[in-house]
C-alpha cells in the first residue's frame, strides 16, 4: 500500500501517522506540503491531527480552502481512500467530504484520554479486520470533537451503515450526537474519526494495539 500524509503548517500528528504507517506497511509515506497542488500516486491519503493553520477560526475551515485539499477531493471523488484523524476529520467535514460538523466539546475543555468505542461497521476498507460489535480503545485529544448533524443526516448515516465507530456508553468525551466517533462517506472510501488509531499501534506506549487492525484493513484491501 502506498500512502501519503498531508502536512499543514500546524499539523502535529503528521509524524505520528508516518511512523505508524511505516511500522505497519514497511514503507514510509509521502509527506505532502499543504501548498502542493498535486498528489503522488498513492492508495491512501491521511489527513493527520493537529491545528492545520492554527484553527483560530473554526477548526479545519482554512485548511478546507487550501491548494492540497482540491487534490484530496479529486482523489476521493475517484474513489481513493482518505483517512482523516482528529483535525483531519474536522478538515473533512469543513471540505464537505463528510457531512455534519465538529463543534466545541460539550464541556468546553480540551480532552485527552483513552476512550472505548464499538466498531459498528466492518464492510469497508478501514475496519474489515475488526469484528462487528468489537470494543476498541483509542485515545482522544481534541477540543472540537462534538459531532453534530441534522436528524435527517444522522438517520441517513445510521441507515446506510456509515457510523463506523461509536463511543461506548459512558465514554463519549465530547457530547457528540448519538455518540458518534467516526463516520464514512457515501461511497465508503472516506473515513473521519476523532480518536487516534496511530497512537495505539506501538505496544510499548502502553495504550494497547487496537489501532493496528485499522491499518491492517487498509493494507489488506489496498495493497
Amino acid at each position: 500500500m502506498k500512502s501519503a500524509v498531508i502536512v499543514f503548517p500546524a499539523s502535529n500528528c503528521d509524524r505520528d501517522a508516518a511512523v505508524a504507517l511505516k511500522q505497519m506497511t514497511g514503507n514510509a509515506p509521502h509527506m505532502v506540503w499543504h501548498q502542493d497542488k498535486d498528489l503522488p500516486d498513492v492508495d491512501l491519503i491521511v489527513l493527520p491531527g493537529g491545528f492545520s493553520y492554527g484553527d483560530y477560526l473554526r477548526s479545519g475551515a482554512m485548511a478546507s480552502q487550501s491548494a492540497v485539499m482540491r487534490a484530496v477531493k479529486a482523489h476521493a471523488e475517484k474513489g481513493g481512500a482518505v483517512l482523516g484523524i482528529c483535525n483531519g476529520f474536522q478538515v473533512l467535514t469543513e471540505s464537505h467530504l463528510l457531512p455534519g460538523a465538529l463543534m466545541r466539546n460539550a464541556e468546553l475543555k480540551f480532552v485527552c484520554r483513552p476512550v472505548t468505542m464499538t466498531v459498528e461497521e466492518t464492510q469497508n476498507v478501514f475496519t474489515r479486520k475488526y469484528s462487528n460489535g468489537q470494543n476498541v480503545t483509542f485515545p482522544v485529544a481534541h477540543g472540537d470533537g462534538n459531532y453534530v448533524a441534522d436528524e435527517e443526516t444522522l438517520d441517513r448515516l445510521e441507515g446506510e451503515g456509515r457510523v463506523v465507530f461509536r463511543y461506548a456508553p459512558g465514554h463519549n468525551p465530547n457530547g457528540s450526537a448519538r455518540n458518534i466517533a467516526g463516520i464514512l462517506s457515501e461511497k465508503r472510501n472516506v473515513l473521519g474519526l476523532m480518536p487516534h488509531p496511530e497512537r495505539v499501534v506501538d505496544p510499548l506506549l502502553g495504550g494497547g494495539t487496537d489501532g493496528r487492525a485499522l491499518f491492517e484493513s487498509l493494507i489488506e484491501t489496498l495493497s
Binding site: A10, R15, D16, Y53, K109, C112, L205, G207
Partner: protein, 735 residues
C-alpha cells in the same frame, strides 16, 4: 530629548545608586531609550543581582553535562550522540494578571529557550501553585492557567506529560506558574548564543514587534499591590500557531550551517537578546530599528527595544547566507529581516530614523550590572515532634486525605493536556515521573517536577534539600538514572532580610543535595518579589529533574499488576508527622520539624531500587512522599485496580506508621519469592525494609485491625474533588 527626572528613574525601578552607576558607565546622562534598556537589563528578572553571588554555590558540572547555566537552557549527554536540552522558567506575575495568556506565553517562552539551542521539544512539565480553594479568584486562575498551558502546548504538538498543583493561602495574591520544557538534539547540532565575529548579519525572525509586554521584566521584579490589574497591558498574547512555524523554520535553518548564534527574544525582547549575544560573543551589535518588522505604526525606539512580543528570535548568520535563511522563513510565512550587524566595538548601538538613540558598552548591561550581597537573616527552623490524636480512624483519615485539594487526583488538569502526541509517551501523568521515549530508540527520559513548600516554610534549607531528593527519587522509582536538574527559585522580596535568608538557605539546600546525589543544576530561573501587599509566598524552590532509562521496556510504574504480590516498604519508617499532610488535613495543624533527609542513605536506597528495575526483577514501584505510606499504597491499588491487604511493621505506632512522611522510602510489589531475595540483599547493604502486606483478588484496601474499604469508594473520593470544585461546588473555607 526627554529629560531624565528622578521620578522617571524611579518609575523604571532603578534606585538612585543604580542611576548614578549608569551615569558613571556612560560618562553622561542616559537617553530615554538607554534608561529603558538599563531598567530591564538591570532588573532582578534579567540580572539576578540579588542571587548571583549565592547561585555560584550550586554544583553545575558532571562528565555528562555538556552545557551548564548561562545559556538559554542546559544540555546533557544521553549517549549515542544524543543530547537532552531542558530548562524550567516562571511566568508568575503575568499569569496572575491574565491567567490564560500568562500561562500560554510562559509555555511558549520556555519552548523557545529549548529550540533556540537546536532541540526539538519533546515534553512539557509544569509546577503550579494557587491560592486556597475558597479564595474567590482561585477557580478562575486554575481554569485559565490550565487551559492556557494546554492551549499552547497542544497546538505545538508537544506532549505535556506531568507536573504538580498545590493550593495554599500564601499564593492567594501571587500564583506560581513554572513551566519546563525538555528537548532532544544531536550533540553536534547544538546552537549557542555567542555572537562571535564582526561584520556578520544580525537577523530578526518570527512575529512582528508590537507594543505588548513592554516592561514585563520590570513588572516581574516588583511586588504586587492592589492596582496590579492595571498592569494587564504588560502581559503578552501568545500565538502558538506562529510558534509552531517558528519551531519548524528554525530547525530547518539549523539543519544548514548558516547560523553563528541564535537566541530567543524573551523577557526584555530585542534588548536582552542583542546585548546578551554580543556580550557572550565578545563583540558589539549595531541595530537599525527602521528595519524591524512592526505590527503597529509609529512605534518609538523605546517601545521596540522593550517590547516583549512573542514568537520572535534573533540570529547571527554567516555573511552571505541571508538569502538561504530568508527562503526558509518565507516558506513558513514568517517575517525575516536583516536588522543589524555585529561589530568589534563591544558596544550596543541602536539607530532609529537616522539618529543614534542608544550607544553603550555591552558590559554595562552584563558584568557591570549591579550585584548585591543583600543582608539576610536565617530564622531557626520549626522543630519538635507534634502530638496526635491516636483515636482517629485510619481508614476515615485516608479517605479525607485522598480527597484533599493538595492530594486528590489531578486528572481534571492533565486531561486538558495532550500528553500522548508525538507517540513516544511511555509513562503518562499520574505516576512518579513521566517517561518519554527518545524517538527511534528504546531509551527514555524520565522527568519530574517537585517541591513541598510547606517544608520549605518550616525549614528553607531542609525543604530545598527535600525537593531535590524527591525529584531524584521519583526519577529513580520509574527505573531511570537521575542526571541533572533545572531549578525555579520562587521567593518573596529579597530586600527583606528574612526573605533573603530563605533564598540563601534554599540555594544552599539545593546545592548540598545536588552535590551529594551527583545531580548537577544545569540551568534555571529565579522569580523574586512574589509578594502582594507585603505578604510573601511560601518559599518555593521548584526542582525539575531529568533522568535516563536505558531501556523503556524495563520500567516501573506505580500500578499494582497482579494479585498475590508481596508489598514491601523500603527505607526507614520512624513515623515522622511534623509538617505532614496528615497533621494539616486531619488535625488542622502545620507544626513540627520537617522530615530529615539522609542524602547518603537516600542514594544507597535509590541506587538499589533502580537496579531492581533495570534487572527486570521489579516492575511496580512508588516513592513515598506526601501523605506517607498508606497514601502511596492506596494510589498503587487504585492505579492498578488491584486490592491490597496491609498492616503496620516495625515499632512505629499505627498513625505515624501509615501517615508519617519519613524520606528515602519506596513501596515495591513483586512475587513473594522475588521479594524474599530482595530482603536478604537489602539486609546486606544495611537498608531498613519490611514486608507490609500483599495484593489481593478482592478490590478492597484492607488494613489489619482497622477494616476494609472498597477501591471504588476510595476512587470516588480521590477523583471527585477537582471536577466538583471546578464545577463550582462549595468547598471548606480553607485548606
Amino acid at each position: 530629548m526627554t529629560e531624565i527626572t528622578p521620578e522617571l528613574v524611579a518609575e523604571h525601578g532603578l534606585s538612585d545608586d543604580e542611576y548614578g552607576r549608569i551615569k558613571r558607565l556612560l560618562n553622561r546622562e542616559p537617553s530615554l531609550v538607554e534608561l529603558g534598556i538599563f531598567s530591564v537589563m538591570w532588573s532582578e528578572h534579567c540580572s539576578y543581582k540579588s542571587t548571583r553571588i549565592h547561585l555560584r554555590k550550586l554544583p553545575t558540572k558532571a562528565p555528562w553535562v555538556l552545557q551548564g547555566p548561562g545559556e538559554n537552557a542546559g544540555v546533557i549527554d544521553i549517549g549515542d550522540g544524543d543530547a537532552c536540552i531542558f530548562k524550567m522558567e516562571s511566568h508568575n506575575h503575568p499569569s496572575f494578571i491574565e491567567p490564560y495568556q500568562g500561562a500560554a506565553t510562559g509555555v511558549g517562552g520556555i519552548m523557545r529557550d529549548v529550540f533556540t539551542m537546536g532541540a526539538r521539544p519533546v515534553a512539557m512539565m509544569n509546577a503550579l501553585r494557587f491560592g486556597e480553594p475558597s479564595h474567590p479568584k482561585t477557580r478562575h486562575l486554575v481554569s485559565g492557567v490550565v487551559s492556557g498551558i494546554g492551549g499552547y502546548g497542544n497546538c505545538m504538538g508537544v506532549p505535556t506529560v506531568g507536573g504538580e498543583v498545590n493550593f495554599h493561602k500564601s499564593y492567594n495574591g501571587n500564583i506560581l506558574v513554572n513551566a519546563m520544557c525538555v528537548g532532544l538534539a544531536r550533540q553536534d547540532k547544538i546552537f549557542l548564543s555567542a555572537a562571535k565575529g564582526a561584520g556578520n548579519p544580525v537577523v530578526y525572525i518570527g512575529s512582528k514587534t508590537g507594543r505588548d509586554g513592554i516592561h514585563g521584566a520590570t513588572m516581574a521584579s516588583a511586588e504586587f499591590s492592589e492596582d496590579s490589574e492595571e498592569k494587564r497591558p504588560t502581559v503578552q498574547v501568545g500565538d502558538p500557531f506562529t510558534e509552531k512555524l517558528l519551531l519548524e523554520a528554525c530547525l530547518e535553518l539549523m539543519a544548514t550551517d548558516a547560523i553563528i548564534a541564535i537566541q530567543d527574544m524573551g523577557a526584555a525582547g530585542l534588548t536582552s537578546s542583542s546585548s546578551e549575544m554580543a556580550d557572550k560573543g565578545g563583540s558589539g551589535i549595531e541595530l537599525d530599528l527602521d528595519r524591524v518588522p512592526q505590527r503597529e505604526t509609529n512605534m518609538t525606539a523605546y517601545e521596540m527595544m522593550l517590547s516583549e512580543s512573542q514568537e520572535r528570535m534573533l540570529a547571527v548568520l554567516k555573511p552571505g547566507r541571508e538569502a538561504q535563511a530568508e527562503a526558509i522563513f518565507r516558506k513558513w510565512e514568517l517575517d525575516f529581516a536583516v536588522i543589524g550587524i555585529t561589530t568589534d566595538t563591544r558596544r550596543l548601538v541602536v539607530k532609529h530614523k537616522g539618529a543614534i538613540v542608544a550607544d553603550m558598552p555591552v558590559t554595562a548591561l552584563s558584568d557591570e550590572a549591579p550585584l548585591y550581597e543583600r543582608p539576610f537573616s536565617k530564622r531557626a527552623p520549626a522543630d519538635g515532634i507534634p502530638s496526635f490524636d491516636a483515636t482517629k480512624l485510619v481508614l476515615t483519615s485516608l479517605k479525607t486525605i485522598l480527597a484533599a485539594p493538595d492530594m486528590c487526583s489531578r486528572r481534571w488538569v492533565w486531561e486538558q493536556y495532550d500528553y500522548s502526541v508525538m507517540a513516544d509517551t511511555v509513562q503518562s501523568p499520574g505516576g512518579d515521573a513521566a517517561v518519554v521515549r527518545v524517538h527511534n530508540s528504546n531509551k527514555g527520559l524520565a522527568i519530574s517536577t517537585d517541591v513541598s513548600p510547606r517544608y520549605c516554610k518550616a525549614d528553607p534549607s531542609l525543604g530545598a534539600k527535600q525537593a531535590v531528593v524527591e525529584a531524584w527519587r521519583n526519577i529513580t522509582a520509574v527505573g531511570a538514572t537521575p542526571l541533572a536538574v533545572t531549578d525555579n527559585l520562587n521567593f518573596g522580596n529579597p530586600q527583606k532580610p528574612e526573605i533573603m535568608g530563605e533564598i540563601v538557605a534554599g540555594i544552599e539546600g539545593v546545592a548540598e543535595a545536588c552535590r551529594a546525589l551527583d545531580f548537577p543544576v544545569i540551568g534555571g530561573n529565579c522569580s523574586l518579589y512574589n509578594e502582594t501587599n507585603g505578604e510573601a509566598i511560601l518559599p518555593t524552590p521548584a526542582i525539575g529533574g531529568v533522568g535516563l532509562i536505558k531501556d523503556v521496556r524495563r520500567m516501573a510504574t506505580i500500578a499494582i499488576k497482579r494479585e498475590g504480590d508481596a508489598i514491601m516498604l523500603v527505607g526507614d519508617t520512624k513515623g515522622h508527622l511534623g509538617q505532614s499532610i496528615y497533621l494539616r488535613e486531619i488535625e488542622g495543624r502545620e507544626e513540627g520539624a520537617c522530615p530529615p533527609v539522609d542524602l547518603a542513605m537516600e542514594k544507597r536506597t535509590g541506587d538499589f531500587v533502580r537496579r531492581l528495575i533495570e534487572d527486570a526483577r521489579v516492575d511496580t514501584v512508588h516513592d513515598v512522599s506526601d501523605g506517607g505510606v498508606l497514601v502511596a499504597v492506596a494510589e498503587m491499588a487504585l492505579a492498578g485496580d488491584v486490592g491490597v491487604e496491609i498492616g503496620v511493621a516495625g515499632t512505629a505506632e499505627t498513625i505515624p506508621f501509615f501517615f508519617g512522611e519519613d524520606q528515602g522510602r519506596y513501596v515495591l510489589a513483586a512475587s513473594p519469592d522475588v521479594i524474599d531475595r530482595i530482603e536478604s540483599e537489602l539486609r546486606e547493604i544495611g537498608v531498613v525494609h519490611a514486608i507490609i502486606g500483599r495484593t489481593t483478588k478482592e478490590k478492597v484496601l484492607h488494613i489489619e485491625r482497622e477494616g476494609a474499604v472498597a477501591l471504588s469508594t476510595l476512587r470516588t473520593a480521590h477523583e471527585g474533588w477537582f471536577p466538583r470544585y471546578m464545577a463550582g461546588e462549595a468547598i471548606p473555607a480553607s485548606n
